[in-house]
Amino acid sequence: MNKQQRTWMGIASLLLILVYFFPIWSINMEAPQYPEGIGMNITVNDIQGKEFHDLANINGLNHYIGMKPITPESIPELKIMPIIFGLLIVSGIVIAIWGSRKWILVWLGVFVLFAIAGLVDFYLWGYDYGHNLNPNAPIKVPGMTYQPPLLGSKQLLNINATSMPHIGFYVALLSMSIASLAWWKSGDTDNEGESGKVGTGKETKVTA
C-alpha cells in the first residue's frame, strides 16, 4: 500500500466520525391531520423526534393501537452502536498506519456484517413494536399489524409511514466504498511493489 491508499483508508475511518453527528435512519409519517408530517430520526445512540415533541406525539398516537411507547433508554442497541463505530474508526486508523491490505478486507467484512446485523435488528424491533400490541388497546382492527416498513412506504390506517436511510447511513456507505477502493488500488501497487521492490523504503519511512 502506498501513501495515497493509506490516506484513503484513513479517510474512510475518520469519515465515520460524522455518524455521531447525523441520523442514520429516519421514519416519516404523513396523515391528513399532520399536513406538515411528523417523524423520528434514529441516530447512533438515540431516537429523536424531527420536531422537539414529535416522539411524544407519535407515542401518544400509538397508544390507541396498543403499541408500546418508543423509549430510547430501553433499547440496548443504542448503547452498543457508538462503541462499535468507535472500534471501527480506531481499527481503521491502525490499519491505515500499518498499511496491511489484508486487514482492510477483514475490516470491511466486519463492517458489512455489522451493517446487515443492524438492519436485521431494526427489522426485529419494528416487528416487535408492530405486532406485540396491548390487548386492551382502544382501536383494534382485525388482522391489522403496524410494523413500519424497513425501506420505503406503507399505509398504516390513516398514516403513511416512510422509512429511509439518513445522512449517517450514506456516510457509512461512502466509508465502505472508500475503504474498498483503497483495498482494490492497493492490490495494484502492492503487486508492483513486490515485483519491482519499489516503494518499500518509502513505506518504512512513513511507518517510522
Binding site: 422537539f52 415533541h53 411524544a56 406525539n57 401518544g60 390507541y64 382502544p138 382501536i139
Partner: protein, 658 residues
C-alpha cells in the same frame, strides 16, 4: 276553462321568458358596481391563505375580530373587553383579573379603534392596541399568541373615544375624553355639581401612555383640556413626528340635546399636541401629580400566564395654561370627526361631518403660523390659529357627511361620506375629487392596510358600513354589520366583495400576513409552564384538601383526565380544578366543564394551566368532560366527582384507570 288553457299555452312561454329577464335584471341591479372579475380577485383556494390579516374591532361585543383579506373570511375572535364563554376568558381564575377596573370587575366593554404597533412609521406585527369607550381603557393584544396581554385604565376620563392611536415608533399610545365631566381645579376629581354648570366646571383630558419595548403600558402624562368632546386622533409622522392631532366637537359646551346645541358653531377645533415637548416637561417633573386611581392588568409570563392586577394611585397632569407650546387649536369646520395625517406627514385632513368641504391643513403652514403668532384668540389659554393661515386647501363636493380618510401612498386620499353613502377619492396635492363609488350603506370608518402609516399597501380598501338592511340573508331585526372590499389598485375604484362583520366594527386595520406569521406560537412549552398550580406529568396529579377548599391538580392528554374519579368533595366546598393540558402539539386543546358550574368552560391550550372554580350545592355524583372534540375517543374523555354531605366522613380519594 278552455280559453284559460289556450292563453296559458299561447302566452306561457313568452311570459316565462320575460319574467326571467326581469329577474336577471333585478339581480344585476343588486350587484351594483361590482366588476366582472371580482370573484377571481377575492377567491382564495382551499388550503391557501389570505394576503392580509384584518383586525376589526367588535364594537359593542368588546372583542377583536380577525378576518382574512381579500376573502373576507372571519378566522378568529380575540376576547378583549368582554367575558368570552367560548374559552373561559374573564371567567377562569387566571384570566378574570384582566377585566378589573377601579369600578371593580366589568364584564363588558365597547371596543372602538384597533391600531397596529409601528416601527419607523410602518406596521410591525407585534401588537394591536384597542380602546374601550365606556369604562376608559386601552388593551394591548399580542400577535404572537392572538391574546389580550394587558389592559390599562385611563383615569380622569369619561368615554375613551379618541384612542388608541400610536406614534411612529410606538413610543406612545394616546387617549382622550369623549365626554367631559366636572373636575375640580386642584385634584381633577369628579364633582357633585349641577349638570347646568357645564361651562364653569366641565373639563377634558388627553392622555399619553408610554409603551416599553416589551409592551408594558403606563400613563406618562395627561393634558388638561377645555370641556369639549374629543372625538378622534392620529399621530404625526415624518416632518410632523412629535405631534398628535385630536378632533373636538361641542366647542359650544352644551350639556343637553347636543344634536342641536353642539351643532351651532361654524368651526370647532383640532387640538394639535406637541407630545415630544409635553414628554420633556413630564420628564422634568413639570405639571403636578394628582390622585388618579387606575388599574393595570397584565399577563405575568413569569408565573404561568396568570393575569395580575395593580392599582396606580397617581397620575401626572400638565396644564397648557402654565406650560407653553404644548397645545394649539386648529379651527376646523364643522363638528369634525376623523383626523387623518397623510403618509408624508405634511397634511392633516379632517372629516367635518356637517361640513360641505373636507378641510386639509398643512403642517408646514401650521408651524409657520405658530412661529408668527397668527392667532385669532385663545380658548382656556390655548392659542387658536387662524384658519386661513394653516389651510392647505378644501376638497369641494366631497359627499355628504364626510367622516374618515385613509391613504394609498400614491398621493390619493379616500374619505367616507356617511350621509351620501359613498367613498370619495381625492388628490391630496390639488384637493380635487378624482373618483367616487357607492357603498351599502352609510360607511363609518374605512381601512386600507397600513393606510394610516407612512407606508400603505394601497391595493384594497374596506368600507365599514353602519347600516346592513338587505345585504345578507335576513336574520330578524338584529344583524351583523356589512363590510365591503374595494379594489383601489387602478384609477377607478372597483367593488369586489360584501362580507358580514360581527358586533359593530368601528375601525379596522390590516397588515401583510407574513409580518404576523413569523412570530406565531403554536402551543405553550410544558417545560416553560411556570404556573404555581401546574401539573406537568400524570404522576404529579393529586387532590388536596385545605379546610373547605379542595384543589384538584388535573392533567389532560388524549383521551383521558388524570384523575378522572374523585371522591371526598363535600357540599359547601370551594373546588378548584387546576387543569394542565399535557399535549405538546399544534391544535390539540382540551376543554373542561362540570355540571352546574356557575361559570364558563375552560379551553386549555397545549402546555397551559387554567383553573375553574366550582361550588357543589347538592350531594351526589357529578360528571365532568372534555368539551373540545380532541380525538377519536373524545366522547370517552370524561370523569366523575362524588359530592358528599357536609358532615360526611368520605375521605379524599382519586385515580385514573384503577
Amino acid at each position: 276553462m278552455n280559453t284559460i288553457h289556450k292563453i296559458i299555452r299561447t302566452w306561457g312561454l313568452p311570459l316565462l321568458v320575460i319574467s326571467g329577464f326581469l329577474l336577471t335584471g333585478c339581480q344585476n341591479g343588486q350587484q351594483l358596481g361590482s366588476s366582472a372579475d371580482a370573484a377571481s380577485k377575492v377567491y382564495v383556494s382551499p388550503g391557501e391563505h389570505d394576503e392580509f390579516y384584518g383586525f376589526f374591532s367588535g364594537g359593542y361585543n368588546g372583542q377583536l375580530g380577525v378576518y382574512g383579506l381579500p376573502s373576507g373570511r372571519h378566522i378568529f375572535t380575540i376576547p378583549v373587553f368582554s367575558q368570552a364563554p367560548v374559552n373561559g376568558y374573564g371567567y377562569s381564575e387566571e384570566t378574570k383579573a384582566m377585566l378589573n377596573t377601579s369600578h371593580g370587575f366589568v364584564p363588558w366593554g365597547d371596543a372602538h379603534h384597533p391600531e397596529l404597533s409601528q416601527t419607523n412609521g410602518e406596521t410591525d406585527g407585534r401588537w394591536v392596541f384597542m380602546n374601550e369607550n365606556n369604562t376608559p381603557r386601552i388593551a394591548r393584544i399580542g400577535l404572537n399568541e392572538f391574546k389580550t396581554q394587558e389592559i390599562i385604565e385611563i383615569p380622569n376620563s369619561a368615554g375613551n373615544h379618541a384612542s388608541s392611536f400610536v406614534t411612529p415608533n410606538t413610543e406612545y399610545v394616546s387617549a382622550a375624553t369623549r365626554f367631559s365631566i366636572p373636575m375640580d381645579d386642584e385634584n381633577m376629581q369628579n364633582m357633585d355639581v349641577s349638570i347646568d354648570s357645564y361651562k364653569e366646571n366641565f373639563k377634558g383630558t388627553i392622555s399619553f401612555i408610554k409603551v416599553s419595548d416589551e409592551g408594558k403600558m403606563n400613563i406618562d402624562f395627561q393634558i388638561m383640556m377645555p370641556g369639549f368632546d374629543y372625538d378622534l386622533s392620529h399621530a404625526g409622522k415624518g416632518p410632523s413626528n412629535g405631534w398628535s392631532f385630536f378632533t373636538s366637537y361641542n366647542s359650544e359646551q352644551a350639556n343637553t340635546l347636543l344634536e342641536i346645541n353642539a351643532s351651532k358653531n361654524d368651526k370647532d377645533f383640532i387640538a394639535a399636541i406637541n407630545w415630544k415637548k409635553a414628554a420633556e416637561y413630564a420628564k422634568q417633573g413639570k405639571g403636578k401629580m394628582i390622585p388618579g386611581e387606575h388599574v393595570r392588568n397584565y399577563i405575568d409570563h413569569e408565573e404561568g400566564g396568570i393575569v395580575k392586577s395593580e392599582t396606580i394611585d397617581k397620575v401626572r397632569v400638565l396644564d397648557p395654561r402654565e406650560l407653553e407650546g404644548i397645545v394649539y387649536f386648529l379651527p376646523t369646520p364643522k363638528s369634525p370627526h376623523g383626523v387623518d395625517v397623510d403618509p408624508t406627514g405634511q397634511y392633516i385632513a379632517a372629516g367635518g361631518k356637517l361640513s360641505t368641504v373636507i378641510p386639509v391643513h398643512s403642517f408646514a403652514k401650521m408651524q409657520k403660523a405658530i412661529e408668527n403668532e397668527e392667532f385669532e384668540g385663545k380658548v382656556m389659554g390655548i392659542p387658536v390659529l387662524k384658519y386661513d393661515s394653516i389651510l392647505h386647501g378644501e376638497v369641494e363636493n366631497p359627499g355628504l357627511g364626510p367622516l374618515h380618510t385613509e391613504f394609498d401612498g400614491r398621493g390619493n386620499a379616500y374619505t367616507t361620506a356617511f350621509i351620501s353613502s359613498e367613498i370619495v377619492k381625492w388628490n391630496i396635492e390639488n384637493t380635487e375629487v378624482v373618483d367616487r363609488i357607492d357603498v351599502y350603506y352609510s360607511p363609518g370608518h374605512l381601512m386600507i392596510p397600513g393606510g394610516d402609516s407612512q407606508n400603505p399597501d394601497g391595493k384594497y380598501l374596506v368600507s365599514l358600513n353602519k347600516i346592513t338592511k338587505d345585504r345578507f340573508l335576513p336574520t330578524g331585526p338584529e344583524m351583523f354589520h356589512s363590510a365591503q372590499l374595494i379594489d383601489i389598485s387602478g384609477e377607478k375604484m372597483k367593488m369586489l366583495l360584501d362580507f358580514p362583520t360581527e358586533g359593530e366594527p368601528h375601525y379596522a386595520q390590516a397588515i401583510k400576513a407574513d409580518k404576523v406569521i413569523k412570530n406565531q406560537k403554536r402551543f405553550y412549552k410544558l417545560e416553560e409552564n411556570g404556573h404555581p398550580k401546574a401539573t406537568t406529568s400524570e404522576k404529579q396529579a393529586k387532590v388536596v384538601r385545605k379546610g373547605n377548599e379542595v384543589h384538584i391538580y388535573m392533567t389532560t392528554i388524549r383521551s383521558h383526565f388524570t384523575p378522572d374519579n374523585i371522591e371526598g368533595v363535600k357540599v359547601g366546598d370551594d373546588v378548584y380544578f387546576h387543569v394542565t393540558n399535557l399535549e405538546q402539539d399544534w391544535d390539540v386543546p382540551h376543554g373542561f366543564a362540570i355540571k352546574g358550574a356557575n361559570t364558563a368552560e375552560l379551553l386549555i391550550m397545549p402546555g397551559e394551566t387554567l383553573t375553574l372554580k366550582w361550588q357543589p350545592k347538592k350531594a351526589g355524583v357529578v360528571p365532568f368532560y372534555c368539551t373540545d372534540f380532541c380525538s377519536a375517543l373524545h366522547q370517552e374523555m370524561q370523569g366523575y366527582v362524588r359530592v358528599s354531605e357536609k358532615d360526611s366522613d368520605v375521605e379524599i380519594a382519586y385515580g385514573t384507570g384503577q
